[in-house]
Symmetry: C2
Subunit: 341 residues, 2 copies
C-alpha cells in the first residue's frame, strides 16, 4: 500500500506529484479559481481573488512545523509571520491582515508559547499588519511533537506579479541564499551553527517600495523557501517556456553554508531561505533595480543570470559552472531536511 | 512551570483565557482589526475586512485535528470543509473560495488521504466553492498522530451578522444538537455509536436563502461547535448585555445522545455540533423564519427560548428545567473531549 513519504512534503517534485494526484486531478478547472483570479491553476504560494475595482485580494496559507521551534536568528513564530507575509508580497500584494491557527501539544511550556507568539506579534507590529482572528487547539501528549502554527496572510494588490519571466529578463536575488536551510539542518544533525543564523525576515520594506517604483518591470517574484533557489528557477523555466541561465559564481552563498553543504554532498541551491526575494526583472531597468534594492539595505543583492528563449533547453535551468562549462540544475527531489519550515 | 493543558483547547473558558494572555493582552487595539472591519476584538470564528464598496470580505481559519479521522457520518476532510464554510456563513458571508494546509504523518496511507481529500472536495463541488491554493507538509513518523487539516474559508458579505442579540429576540436552533460530539466521544471511549452519526454538513442551503430573505432580522448566528450550545448562548448573553432564557424541553436532542450524556454525567448542551445553526431572530418574524427554515428541509428546527433584558441575570444563561425551575447554564470549562474537531 502506498504511504505518505517525507519527500512528499519537501516542496519538490514529489510534493507537486501528490498535490496533482490529490487535488488538481480531482477537481474540474472551474473549481480551481475564482473567475478572474489566480488559484490552483497557478503554481505559486498565494492566490488572488478580484475585488471588483481592479484590485486583487491576495491570500495565502502555510502550516509551519519547523523543528526545533527555536533556532539562531528566530523561532517558529517569527517564521510563521514572515513566511505568509512574504508569500503575499511575492504575488504583488501589500499585506494588511493575518490570521493564525495554533495546534500545540499538551504539556508544552506556556512560557515557550509566549516567546513564540511574541515573535509572531512583533513582526505584525513592525510591519503594520493586523491580526484579525485565529484558532487554538491542543493535542494530547504524545500525539504531536511540540507545535504547528498555520498562518493566513491577506493583502491587496494593484497589480499581480504572475511569475512569467520574459526573454532577456535578468534574475536578481536580494541576499545570500540557503542560510535558513543550513541552520535547521545543522541543528537537526546535532551540530552547532557556529554563528550562522537563519535569514528569516519580512520583506515588506524591500517589496513595497520596489513594487511602487518598478512594479511593471518585475515579471516574476518568489521567495526561495522549500526546494530553495533550484525550485524557483525550475518553476520559472517551465512557466516562461524558456531556459534560465545562471552564473554559479554570482550566486551569493556564505562560505560557511557552502562548506557545510559541500561536506554533506548537498547543493546549497536546494536549501531554503526565509527572507530572500528572487526577481525576474526587465533588462532595461535591471541595473537600476539592483542599485535600488541595495539602497534599501540589501547590500548583498546580485544579478545572477537571465531568462532566455531556447528550443533545446526550454524548461531547464543551466548553471554556468566555475570551471566554465554548463550543468543542468534539476528541480529538487527527495527529502533533504524534514520540518525545515 | 505553567504548561499547556487539554482544556486550553476545548473552546471554553480556558481557551478564552489563553488567547487573552497570548494575543489580546499583547497587541494594541489598532492591530486587532482592519479599520472598519471585525477582528480579534470580536469573539466570533470569522473576521471581516471592508472591501471599499460597502461589502465585506469574510475570512476564517481553523485547524482540524479530529480523532479518529474517519467517523460515522463523515471524516476529517468533510469536517474541515464544512467547519470553515459554516463559519463564513455565520458572519453573514457567502462562501466563494477555500484554501487548505495539510500536515500528515510519514507513513499515513495515501489511500486514506485520498478518501479524506475526496470528501473535502465533494463539499466544495456541491456548494460551488473554489479551492484556490494550499500547503502540504509531512512530519516524520511518531511526531504527529495521523493528520491535521487547516482550512481557510473566504466569503463576501453584503451585511455582517455581528452577533449581538436584542431584547425580545427568539433563539432558534436548526436541528438536533450534540450529535457530532457524542459520536466522537463514543469512538474515543471505544464504544459503538450504534447508528448515531455526526451531523457534519455545510449550511449554505440554509443560510444563504435565510440571509437573502430575513437578513436584517437575524441579530446573531453561530454554529455550536467546541463548547456546544452552552458556549454560544453564554457568548450571546455577555455580548447582548442581557439574559438568555431557554426552555430545556424545547431543545432538540436525540434520545440516544441524551441517554449517553446522562450515563457519563455530561450535559449534552456542551457537546459540539458541526451542521447546526443557532439564530437570534427578531420576534416579529420568528414564527415565519421557523417555518421558512423547516421548508428548507430542516424539519427539526425549534424555537428554544429568548433573549431578555435583565439587571439581575445580565450575562447569564437561564435554563428552564423540566421540573419547572431555573438553573444557570455555565459556560464550558475543562476538557470534555480532546480532538473533537
Amino acid at each position: 500500500m502506498a504511504v505518505v513519504r517525507l519527500s512528499h512534503g519537501s516542496g519538490g517534485v514529489e510534493t507537486a506529484e501528490i498535490i496533482e494526484r490529490l487535488f488538481i486531478a480531482r477537481l474540474p478547472d472551474v473549481f480551481k479559481k475564482v473567475p478572474g483570479g489566480l488559484g490552483l491553476d497557478f503554481p505559486d504560494d498565494a492566490a488572488a481573488v478580484p475585488m471588483g475595482d481592479g484590485r486583487y485580494l491576495v491570500i495565502t496559507v502555510d502550516s509551519y512545523t519547523v523543528s526545533p521551534p527555536f533556532f539562531p536568528g528566530g523561532d517558529i513564530g517569527l517564521l510563521a509571520a514572515c513566511g505568509s507575509i512574504n508569500d503575499v508580497l511575492m504575488l504583488g500584494g501589500r499585506p494588511v491582515a493575518m490570521m493564525d491557527a495554533i495546534v500545540v501539544e499538551e504539556g508544552f511550556p506556556v512560557e515557550d508559547l509566549e516567546r513564540i507568539v511574541s515573535s509572531f506579534l512583533s513582526v505584525l507590529r513592525s510591519e503594520g499588519i493586523a491580526l484579525i482572528g485565529g484558532d487554538f487547539k491542543v493535542m494530547p501528549r504524545g500525539q504531536l511533537d511540540k507545535v504547528i502554527i498555520t498562518t493566513v496572510g491577506v493583502g491587496v494588490a494593484e497589480r499581480l506579479i504572475v511569475d512569467r519571466p520574459r526573454p532577456g529578463d535578468k534574475i536578481l536575488v536580494s541576499d545570500y541564499v540557503g542560510d535558513h536551510g543550513a541552520v535547521i539542518m545543522m541543528l537537526q544533525h546535532g551540530e552547532s551553527p557556529r554563528g550562522l543564523k537563519s535569514d528569516v525576515k519580512p520583506l515588506v520594506r524591500l517589496m513595497v517600495p520596489l513594487l511602487e517604483k518598478y512594479g511593471s518591470y518585475i515579471h516574476a517574484a518568489r521567495d526561495p523557501t522549500r526546494g530553495g533557489l533550484a525550485m524557483v528557477l525550475n518553476d520559472w523555466a517551465r512557466a516562461g517556456g524558456g531556459v534560465v541561465v545562471v552564473d554559479e559564481e554570482a550566486i551569493p552563498i556564505r562560505p560557511e553554508v557552502a562548506s557545510y553543504s559541500h561536506m554533506l554532498g548537498i547543493d546549497p541551491l536546494y536549501l531554503a531561505s526565509e527572507g530572500v526575494a528572487v526577481l525576474a526583472v526587465d533588462p532595461s531597468v535591471a541595473g537600476e533595480v539592483l542599485n535600488f534594492v541595495r539602497s534599501l539595505g540589501f547590500l548583498n543583492a546580485k544579478v545572477i543570470g537571465e531568462f532566455r528563449e531556447s528550443r533545446r533547453y526550454s524548461g531547464y535551468v543551466l548553471l554556468k559552472t566555475q570551471a566554465g562549462g554548463f550543468r543542468i540544475l534539476e528541480p529538487p527531489r527527495g527529502d533533504l531536511v524534514p520540518r525545515i519550515c
